[in-house]
Symmetry: D2
Subunit: 320 residues, 4 copies
């Protein structure tokens, strides 16, 4: 193996730069060249690439976002687009590809392997942590701490005004962020798409809290919960509870990555180079019980991992 | 003077606790007792008060929100409510009152002075900085840095995806936060209620940026700008620019106060005790050109201070 | 079981309050009363205790330090002191005890079990992560991110001045913090007590970096590495490399706990109450591969866990 | 004026990049080219320069350190070195120079004006705030908040262990940081070089605090106070008080600049271009009472500004 490529795809996540840096540094140490592909699959099709040396990724480990940029690509959805991409990779003499992204991006990577025999490994880069085959995804820890930091600030106001706050956090299909943030902020309720508690129960809890004299309450809502944060606010206001809604939004995507995300990204980036050297392809690398693990790319969108059951049970127990 | 009272009123702001702490400590050092009134004017009417010693305010200087809580009071809007409040103050042998809040709260404080001859001084406590008679208000510095921190995170995503972000910050009547945050984040446009730039100009700027190849743009909108953040997004999307809207909301009110807010609050709290001792009443204390200044309470809602003209001109100059 | 006690002991760690809160809330939900013992074993001997209800721990989950305080106790080192402590626990009708601390504190807890038949469980509360029987300890994640945040700041100066920085982080007996921080900050070398690299190798690396034109380098030193940060600086200056030494010190102990520490503490606090109900004693609760695990207290000081081997190998690979 | 140069010099300070960015953007908007000089005076002598366009400074406003690097230059201390520097400036057709740094750097800039008739203006870039002619210096606000953040963390431990902490902050010749941080952290004593309180008074205060039952105390020491932090610790331990010493060190120089530093730097950068256009030279630009002010460079090292007297008096008043 003489030259590999790396790119980031889908929504950006803090730690993506740490992953790219690790790929570049690990490969360089083994005498392998690295090509950075700009703007995901779209840049692959257009041949928007450049060689990356160890100095090109210096001082990037602490940066949010992705220096390789990311973009949606309509062209890659049809076989002609993908053929063009494969052609570019051949033109650049690329022997293997590292794709950092979520399951949508892995779908694309899988096609490169299937249709064009290109060796490709995936690294889980998404703040949502909703990927089967890894305990955590790159960006998840930072997103949780960012959301928590915001809620800690809201709590100052909530406590001062004795108010109910509804806070919508990211997670279109998964409640990982909501659950972690809910436990860590001491929220009264956590509403997630996987186990959608009926809104009537939420209202019941608020009534009980009111009866107990609790005047400030937090309800954390994953965006994928039916109706989202807005729906929840509408329902509880309908039941007579005044509340404030905050939608944290894209703030959760950014910021300098926390240590855990940088470490995860660094380990996975290093392991990705080894995996390509070992001839692996069509797999996602993850960390499972502290060790590097491999999962067929298809499993990442066909199988689901669930939130921790103990954590779920703790929400109720700890908000008495 | 043997005993004074202190309370916080209106929206909470980071640094209110530092002000209360300074009042308690400065008064205690002079042999004056301090009574803390809970929940603003409503607690004053209800006699919800307690003596505060120096240890009661230990470890509060770094806390957001207000340990004295704050609430709206309908009762205080009519003379009977205010008479009850005045009665409570007399019952508690209170010789002077320190009110930490915004111009709405100062209105109430002014009535106590006018209708019941109670000595009262105001301290500017609001994140919006929209009070005549002081260069800065308690909470303003923290709100600006909190908003900036969020926008720095959005920028990671904005730069990675080459997107336009519309960000609404607080400021119902004033653009201080928006302008400071706009300069500090390097925003392309800052839209404020005092000098409302026509939306057509904003669209023109976006077109020019596009022509220059600038792909990521930030537009900071004070909530008091006509239409708010939502109105701006609608308008620019109508002109063909895809964008993301983030409404920062109540997050800006909370958090541990920054040094500048704690220092401002500490100085003002200390000076408030001296002012009451000197027989001052019906005035707000502020800091003007680094020195303590006094302004009739009525001026704080009748007069206006404008944003810095040099700063305004810098927005255009620095976003080329 | 009608009443249990909880205390914090040894060095304070961020998340201790979250653990105490979880014990109080989980017990209350089961109809068990909770007594908080102040100042660790010393307060136990002196009977410095008080009942804690759910509201007493409200708004503590985000606070650093420990609301129960902590102190060293000479008296507890001899049997008479421990007999007094046991007497106090009986006087207060305490059926079980939760001890949050490190292995030194668990030693004391073990004696209470051995000598006085008191049911006692330990929760791992130390920033060093050097406890056998749990993947992570309460406070560890926060300490790592605090140290990393400081090093990110030093890097700004290091990069601007093209300098070598030696940074000593906490870890008297273990290199967990140093290794995580080293990977996450992209340090050139990480020196830890468990696998002490000879200082000659460090100097060799600096020479190679210099030859490659790398002008800013970071060397992370655990305080338990022979000679500590000062020893390392002396050695490399002796070899002709100018450098700056920063000893991060106690800053690493404080701060609002990160999400991961709050979650770990919340889970362990809840599980501790269940464990005491189940009749468990003389064990430490931990989290191993995401599930609650139990380890005899004696194992926590007799056995050792090692740092992750993959991580260690990554230091060299990623700093080319 | 067709082309100007900008460089950073002396210790780096957060906000230097914002100043460079403002110079580049403001000049470009007026049709003036900007050359960035690398590594301060040394790079000037060596001709280590490059043209900077608006895109070269994109995404730098939030970065700590200085993208232009900084270094000490022995060569510039003698007339030959300065002659070479002047020659390089002529070779590059530079009509005016902006120097961002402290009084040492301004000394150098002054020589360029005196000896070689080069138009040069200074911008105050130092975390210490010890420059006559401006209310604040670029980097000061960030350094204060960084130090405060560290002390807030130490306080968690100080309060939990009931300990005395001695904290040394930056300020070789000035107590601005120490005083601001002392007030903002609620410290018991603040020791600064300008008004050096005898150590006996400090010990007296500790004895009084002890008598009042205050168990956790903070003493903030500017590094320029006689003996520094170490001297203070030695003295109070000699008087029988156990304490912990923390030297914050270079951490205070780094980090993403706070809003106030970015705004100050942006205004000054813009104004520097206007000043050069107006034919000004040998002056430092500052902000005095919110407006741009001009001060002869020589005044910056010959005159002194003092700390705020009201603030000083507040230390004692507020730590009762």
């Amino acid at each position: 193996m003489k030259r590999i490529a790396v790119f980031t795809s889908g929504g950006d996540a803090p730690g993506m730069n740490a992953a790219v840096r690790a790929v570049v540094r690990a490969a360089t140490g083994k005498g392998i060249e690295v090509v950075g592909i700009m703007r995901g699959f779209q840049g692959m099709i257009e041949g928007d690439m450049r060689l990356l040396g160890p100095r090109d990724v210096a001082n990037t480990i602490q940066r949010g976002g992705t220096i390789l940029l990311t973009a949606r690509s309509k062209d890659f959805r049809n076989p002609e687009g993908r053929a063009k991409a494969a052609e570019q990779l051949k033109k650049w003499d690329i022997d293997g590809v590292v794709c950092v992204g979520g399951d949508g991006s892995f779908h694309g990577a899988h096609y490169l392997h299937e249709e064009h025999g290109i060796k490709v490994v995936g690294l889980p880069g998404t703040i949502d942590n909703d990927l089967y085959g890894t305990d955590y995804t790159i960006g998840y820890f930072t997103a949780v701490d960012t959301a928590l930091d915001c809620i800690d600030k809201l709590r100052d106001t909530g406590a001062s005004h004795e108010r109910i706050f509804v806070v919508e956090v990211m997670g279109r299909h998964a409640g990982f962020i909501a659950l972690d943030v809910g436990i860590a902020s001491g929220a009264e309720e956590v509403l997630i798409p996987e186990h959608p508690m009926p809104i009537e129960e939420v209202i019941q809890t608020l009534k009980e809290s009111e009866a107990k004299g609790k005047k400030s309450s937090f309800i954390i809502v994953a965006e994928g919960y039916p109706g989202g944060g807005q729906g929840v606010q509408d329902a509880i206001e309908g039941a007579g509870f005044e509340s404030r809604l905050t939608i944290l939004g894209h703030v959760q995507r950014g910021g300098s990555p926390k240590a855990e995300d940088r470490i995860l990204a660094s380990r996975l980036g290093e392991a990705a180079v080894c995996a390509l050297q070992d001839g692996k392809s069509d797999v996602m690398l993850g960390v499972t019980n502290h060790e590097i693990s491999f999962t067929p790319l298809a499993d990442t969108w066909e199988k689901r991992k669930d939130v921790n059951a103990h954590l779920r049970s703790c929400v109720k127990t700890l908000s008495v």
